[in-house]
Symmetry: C2
DNA sequence: TTCATTATCTGCGTTGATGCAGATATCAGC
DNA sequence: GCTGATATCTGCATCAACGCAGATAATGAA
């Protein structure tokens, strides 16, 4: 923490994270979803199908609240319920690929703006950034778990 | 968009953003605030004092809702109201430095986890990351404005 | 079959965030 | 000192998200 190159990083990082979170909130609102709902859609898209219970764990909600969450997402056509043939108590939830929702449209501005930022990078820089993102993602998930457990 | 080095970046980036947003949500909940409230605290901390109206614009809330937002933050001891001596209609809102709230504690896990990620980086890599964060932050804010205007 | 366990859903109530419209205080120009 | 504009606040109503506890359905083992 005492390295001089980390000092500026520290100053820049918090506003950066803040902007990303705010962007998430604005995106959710634009699509007519709550922040948690939007997160859930993303999680399902990245991790593939998942049971209701697993989704509850990921989001930190109760199973009851998760049922309602899935209801909302289903109404929006973002998600589909599939009963697990192996264990019919379970409900598998999977992201709908071709959702005609404006989610894609809502993300377009960010794609464009960030695309411009990345376009100016050399391949070597892109490599550095990519590796960082790869490593930071599980770090955040670790932190999330710690936060929840600490309460 | 067709550069080969950008392909992997694209796959890694969305889950990365997702994790950051979720971390923001979890942090807010741990502190007993709503996501918007937490964002507002950050904005005030980074940008310094700000009028109620400016904060309304930043958050995308109505002025009425912003008044309540400031009320909540004040109750949590995170923020202070100061009437503008130059224009006494205005209320300047400023972040309280030594808030005894658990906000710092809630951010600790992330600091630790991310600190480890950054610690493994060379100064050159840190420089690349720092510059990226610096450029990405306004890019997100641009995207946010576009999203809001498009609705 | 019967019982305990597990996964999800439902009914009910609560809480909190927000919008809207009108109230209040202040400012700026005449 | 008026008058219109501006900044914030307040009252009221609404709506959505959530927790909790009990209901339902399916599984697995005795």
């Amino acid at each position: 923490m005492s390295r001089p190159d980390l000092a500026k990083l520290g100053a820049v990082y918090a506003p950066y994270l803040n902007a990303i979170v705010l962007h998430g909130l604005a995106t959710a609102q634009a699509v007519g979803l709550g922040p948690t709902d939007l997160y859930a859609v993303g999680t399902l898209a990245f991790n593939g199908r998942m049971t209701s219970g697993e989704l509850a764990a990921k989001t930190g909600l109760t199973t009851g609240a998760t049922t309602r969450l899935i209801d909302r997402l289903e109404e929006h056509g973002l998600v589909r319920r599939v009963t697990d043939p192996a264990d019919r108590r379970r409900v598998l939830v999977e992201a709908v690929e071709d959702n005609d929702i404006e989610l894609d449209a809502a993300l377009a501005p960010a794609r464009e703006q960030l695309g411009a930022v990345f376009a100016d990078c050399s391949p070597a820089e892109i490599a550095v950034l990519t590796e960082h993102f790869e490593r930071a993602t599980p770090a955040f998930h670790e932190a999330i778990e710690t936060i929840r457990d600490t309460r």
